[in-house]
Amino acid sequence: MNADLTDDELAFQDEARAFLQAEFPADLQAKVDANIRLSREDLIRWQKILYKKGWAAPSWPLEYGGTGWSHTKKHIFATEMGSIGAPEPVAFGMKMVAPVLMAYGNEEQKQRFLPDILQSNAWWCQGYSEANAGSDLASLKTTAVRDGDDYIVNGSKTWNTYGQYADWIFCLVRTDNTVKKQEGISFLLIDMKSPGITLKPIVLLDGHPEINEIFFDEVRVPAINLVGEENKGWTYAKVLLTHERANIAGVPRGKRRLKALKKLAADTQDGDGCSLLDNPAFRQKIAEAEIELEALEYAELRTVASLTVGKAPGPESSILKIVGTELAQQIDELFVELAGYNSLPFVPQQFETGFEGEPVGPGNAAASALTYFNNRKATIYGGSNEIQRNIICKAVLGL
C-alpha cells in the first residue's frame, strides 16, 4: 500500500504547476492573496484561460470537451489550483447543471447549453430553495403550468447565489400537485432575462449581497427548456447533489490558508515580546488544525482511490463535506484570533476592487471576521451538516 504517484502522474503534476504559475494572472493572484473579492469578470477571464488550455472542465468526459483525466489526475489538478488559490470553475454551470444535461438532457439541449458553459459564455445559477423549502427541498411550491408550447412559472426562490450575475437559472418547479411531493417536481431551465423575473438582493453578515430572492410572476418558459421527463426532476436533482459534494473537502485551500496563517503569526506580536507563532497556546491550535487536515486529506485520498478502482461515490462524501466545512470554519476562527483587535473594523469595501480610501488595520486582518461570518454558510448550504449526519445515520449506520 502506498500513496505514491506514477511517473506519468508526477509529470502531469509538474505540467499543471508550471501552467498555473505561468498563466494564472498576476493581478488575480494579488487579489486572492490580499483577500480582495474576485469579480464576475475576473472569474470569467480565468475560466477562459483554462478553456484555451483545454482544462476548463476537468470533471467532464472528453466527448463534451472535458479532459478525460483519471480521478487521480483530477485530484492533482484540484490540489495545484487550490494551493495557489486559483478559483475553481463557477460550480453552478460546470458542476451542477452540466452533469444533469449530459445525463438527462436531449441532444438539442446539450448542443445549445454545454458549449456556452464550457467556454464560460453563460453564467448559471441554482433555483432550488424556497423560503419554506430548505432542508426539506421536496416541499417546494413554485409552480409551472403547461400552456401550449410554454410553461407558466409562478412563485419565488430564495438564497440564490449570484443570481445578479446569471444569464440562466436551473429550477426545480412543481408540475403536479396531486401526487407524492417528490413525484410532482420538474427540472426547468429559465432565461434570466424572461419578463416577470425580479431579483431582491439579500445582504450577508459580511455586508456583501451574495444571494437573492427571485420572484417569478407569470414567467413564460418554452417547454423545450424542460430537462428529461416532466415530474422526474427530483431524481435528476438528487444526482446533482452528489456532484455538488465532490471536491468539497477543500484540502488544498486549507493547506494554503494554514501556510498563510503561520506566516502571519510569525509577523504578529503577542504583546509579550514574542511572535504568535512562538506563543504556545496559539501554536498548539495551528498544529491541531494541521493534524485534522492530514486526516481529512487521507480520507479524501481514500475516496479517490476507491473511485479509481471503479466504486461509485457513496456516503463518504458526507464525511468530506462535514469535516471539510467545519475545519475551514476552525481556520476562519484562527485568523480572527490572530488578528485580535484588527479583526473588528467593518470596512468591507476595502476588500473590493478599486477601493481608494484609507485602509483600516494592517494587511488583510480586517477581512478575517468578514470571512468568519460569511463562511458560517458552509455548514448550512449544500445539504446542511445536520442533514449530512442524517445521511450517515441512515445510509451507513443503518439507524
Partner: protein, 377 residues
C-alpha cells in the same frame, strides 16, 4: 448568602428593560447604525436623565454607587438589545480612569459632565504591537518644561469617532513593556497633530485609529501621577471587561431564546425543527453555556464588590472573560446554524447578536490571554 438583587438593582433592571422595549427594537437600532454618529444623542440625554450614566461612579463622586453588580445588571439588559450608545467607553473606561487618577479639580470638571451626558470620551490604550498587554506602550510622551509632546498611533479606540476628549495612554519613561513609566493624558479631539481615522466595527460600534503627531499638551492635562498609571488602567479595563462579559450574557440569552422560539415555529419535513433531537441537545448545550456564563460573571461581579485582594479581583475577571469566550463560540455559532440560511443574513437580529458577541470575545483580551493571565496571577 443572598443572590437576590436589591430593590434599587431591580428598579435599574426594569428601567433599562422598559426603555429597550419602548425605544430599541431591531429596526430602530438599524437606523441608528446608519446615522452619522452611529448612536442616538437623544437616547444619551435620556440615559443621563434616567441616571444611568451615574451607575459606574461612587457616591462621593456624585454617582449611583459604582458597584460591579449594578453595572452587571445594566449591561446584561443592554446586551439583549445590543445598545450602541457609547456607555462603556465614556463612563466605564474613561470615567473609571478619571475617578481613580483625577485630581480634585479634574474630577470636579469632568465627572459631572459625564453624568449629565454632555461629554463624550474615549480611552486610547491599544497599539499595533501591544495585543492585549496594557503595559505594552510605545506611544511616547516627552516632557520639556510645562509641555508634553505625544507621538504614536493608537488602534481600536472605542468611541474615538465621537469623543470630545481622548484619554491617551503614553510612555513617559522606560522600555516598551515596563510596568513603570506609563502615563495618561487628556487630549482634545481637535488638538493639532491628532488625526482620527473613523470607522465602524463589525458589531456596529464606532471606533477609530488615532495618530498623534507631535501633539502638545500642558501639564494640567496629565491624569494622575506621571509614570504610574498602569494599575489604574488595569482596574478600569478589568471593570470594562466585566461589563462586556455581562453584556455577552444578555446577548447570549437573547440568542438562546430566539433560537428556541424559531425552532418551534420553523417547520421542515412536516414538523417543527425543534422536534429533531439532534437540534434539541444542541439547544440544551446552549442553555448550559448560558447558565455557566451567567454564573461566572456573577462570581466576578461579587468578587469586585468584595474585600478581596486586587490580585483575586483581577483573577476573577480573567476567569469570567476566558469562560464566556467558550460560551460565546458555542451559543453564537449554534444560534446561526439552527436558523439556517436566514441566520447568515444581515436581515435578522441573530446575525447581529452573533457579531456583537464575537467582537466582545476579542475585546479586552481573548480567552487565551485571560487563561494565561489567570494562571500567572
Amino acid at each position: 448568602m443572598d443572590f437576590s438583587f436589591t430593590e434599587e438593582q431591580q428598579m435599574l433592571q426594569e428601567s433599562v428593560q422598559k426603555f429597550v422595549q419602548k425605544n430599541y427594537d431591531f429596526e430602530v437600532r438599524k437606523k441608528l447604525l446608519d446615522s452619522e454618529k452611529g448612536y442616538s444623542e437623544q437616547n444619551w440625554a435620556l440615559f443621563a436623565e434616567l441616571g444611568w450614566l451615574t451607575v459606574p461612579f461612587a457616591e462621593e463622586d456624585g454617582g449611583f454607587g459604582g458597584s460591579a453588580v449594578d453595572l452587571m445588571v445594566m449591561m446584561e439588559a443592554f446586551g439583549k438589545a445590543m445598545l450602541v450608545e457609547p456607555f462603556l467607553p465614556t463612563t466605564v473606561l474613561a470615567g473609571g480612569l478619571i475617578s481613580q487618577l483625577g485630581s480634585a479639580e479634574q474630577k470636579a470638571e469632568l465627572l459631572p459632565q459625564i453624568m449629565e451626558g454632555s461629554l463624550q470620551l474615549a480611552c486610547a490604550f491599544g497599539e499595533s504591537g501591544s495585543r492585549y498587554n496594557l503595559a505594552s506602550v510605545q506611544t511616547s510622551a516627552k516632557t520639556s518644561g510645562d509641555d508634553t509632546v505625544l507621538n504614536g498611533k493608537k488602534i481600536a479606540v472605542l468611541n474615538g469617532c465621537s469623543a470630545d476628549r481622548i484619554l491617551v495612554v503614553a510612555r513617559t519613561s522606560g522600555e516598551e513593556r515596563d510596568r513603570d513609566g506609563i502615563s495618561v493624558f487628556i487630549v482634545s479631539a481637535g488638538e493639532g497633530g491628532v488625526s482620527i481615522n473613523r470607522y465602524t466595527n463589525v458589531d456596529g460600534q464606532r471606533a477609530a485609529e488615532i495618530t498623534l503627531n507631535g501633539v502638545k499638551v500642558s501639564s494640567a492635562k496629565l491624569l494622575g501621577e506621571q509614570g504610574s498609571a498602569l494599575t489604574a488602567l488595569e482596574t478600569a479595563v478589568d471593570r470594562a471587561t466585566l461589563a462586556v462579559s455581562a453584556e455577552a450574557v444578555g446577548a447570549m440569552d437573547a440568542m438562546l431564546q430566539k433560537t428556541v422560539e424559531y425552532s418551534k415555529v420553523r417547520k421542515q419535513f412536516g414538523t417543527p425543527i425543534g422536534t429533531f433531537q439532534a437540534l434539541q441537545h444542541r439547544m440544551a448545550d446552549m442553555f448550559i453555556e448560558c447558565q455557566l456564563a451567567r454564573s461566572i460573571v456573577l462570581m466576578a461581579a461579587m468578587k469586585l464588590d468584595s474585600g478581596a485582594s486586587e490580585t483575586e479581583k483581577a483573577k476573577a475577571v480573567s476567569a469570567a472573560k476566558s469562560r464566556i469566550g467558550r460560551a460565546i463560540r458555542k451559543v453564537g455559532q449554534e444560534a446561526v446554524q439552527i436558523h439556517g440560511a436566514v441566520g447568515v443574513t444581515d436581515e435578522l437580529d441573530i446575525g447581529h447578536l452573533f457579531k456583537r458577541v464575537t467582537a466582545i470575545n476579542v475585546t479586552f483580551g481573548n480567552p487565551d490571554f485571560h487563561t494565561a493571565r489567570y494562571s500567572a496571577l
